[in-house]
Symmetry: C2
């Protein structure tokens, strides 16, 4: 099979946070496949086909892209942020593993991008300056009990948390229950940040504490950052504070 | 204070995996501060001062950069990968918090980059397609017992692991003990990958299992990826396999 499939992370939103390798791969493709609003971030090129789809059809979209590549096209599948972090990369490999064995001969390459977790962290300071954990709060693909178990285990050993998919219209209560579980394990003073659409024109940041954090501060485009008992907030007169987690654990940083 | 300090992630190595925003920030600086080999990755510009230092002096380097910015210079501090993931960002905020209160008025901005964990994941397939954890195995700044506790807690709840700083000349035994602890918790068949210097000319990748993984496969430039009991290896005739972790937990992906 001569087809080529690249899986490309577009970065968090701003054009200058997209890697040149990703931009070059997008420009070289004959076909672009992805969720409509993400495709809209890619510059239009004459002669290039765009195949937009609904966000919920990840496996169908992956299968479509693979079948198109198998016909000899040069296909780029786009994800926001990094395709490997709750993006299209795993969906594509799932479909390949279970599909036509000849698909394994396809040239499939993943190009990394700046994920939402890294963009949010940079915007806030350095909340992930020590060990951390990246979790999706969605229970569409795993049991809710497991989500809570992971949250609690990570918080108990002092890992900072990046929470993807905190809520949606179909999942309105999960974030509240997650925060409640974390409050049972962590001090109320632990810094929490709601980082929405970072580097996009409608970017919003809210900084609070675990005790004060409310579900209403998040929507489906928000990454929720939960610090640790060691995470610090540096107050700044008249300006937004910086949040960081010291590199050392169990002692004041030197 | 009128000085400006940008903390810039250079990406994993290849020039085309560096964000344009990072490149622009580097070009606009009057002074570059960083570990010598990282500075060497930045294009030379006439009139721009370079202040290289040894890798172990992070706090000293941060203080030097802040003091320079406080004199009114436009300083860029460089980190490999993303500055917020075991890079210079936390070190800079630590020094600011404990230093001259006037430093809080400085214009400090972190520019994100593609971290080693994302570059390694993309190179391998999608090992972090589900929840995952990013840990440093170095016990220079935290007790070794805590490192083991975090490893075990994360593995027990099914998080994939990205292990930074697996070993160095001064820390030759930590990785072995970490693998031993993981073998007590996870099946021996769990995929493990050693991803060294990804996107650099001397890139190396080795794919094995937890049962077979050996300390000698890593050096200080290696990121060690440990999958979960659900992580899959897609064999490919005559080519390196792909590794991915399905988006669903507890069922075969649809």
């Amino acid at each position: 099979m001569s087809g080529r499939l690249v899986i490309v992370g577009l970065g968090p939103g701003a054009d200058d946070l997209r890697c040149p390798r990703a931009s070059a791969a997008l420009a070289a493709a004959t076909d672009l496949v992805g969720y409509g609003p993400y495709l809209a971030r890619v510059p239009v090129r004459t002669g290039q086909c765009r195949h937009g789809s609904d966000n919920r059809e990840e496996a169908d979209r992956a299968r479509f892209a693979i079948e198109l590549a198998a016909t000899g096209r040069a296909v780029a599948v786009v994800s926001a942020g990094d395709a490997g972090v709750f993006g299209m990369a795993a969906a594509v490999f799932e479909v390949i593993e279970q599909g036509d064995p000849r698909w394994r001969a396809l040239d499939v390459v993943v190009h990394p991008g700046v994920s939402a977790v890294l963009a949010a962290a940079a915007r806030l300071g350095a909340p992930f300056g020590n060990d951390f954990c990246v979790l999706s709060l969605s229970d569409n693909l795993k049991p809710w009990g497991l989500v809570l178990e992971r949250l609690e285990a990570a918080a108990r050993v002092g890992l900072a948390l990046a929470l993807y998919n905190p809520l949606s219209k179909a999942r309105p209560w999960q974030l509240g229950e997650a925060l409640e579980r974390l409050r049972a394990v962590l001090p109320g003073a632990v810094p929490v940040a709601f980082a929405r659409a970072i580097s996009r024109p409608d970017e919003q940041v809210a900084i609070t504490t675990l005790a004060e954090a409310r579900t209403e501060q998040a929507d489906m485009r928000t990454l929720v950052v939960v610090g640790t008992a060691e995470t610090r907030v540096i107050a700044r007169p008249g300006r937004e504070p910086w949040i960081y987690t010291p590199r050392s654990v169990g002692r004041r940083p030197a």
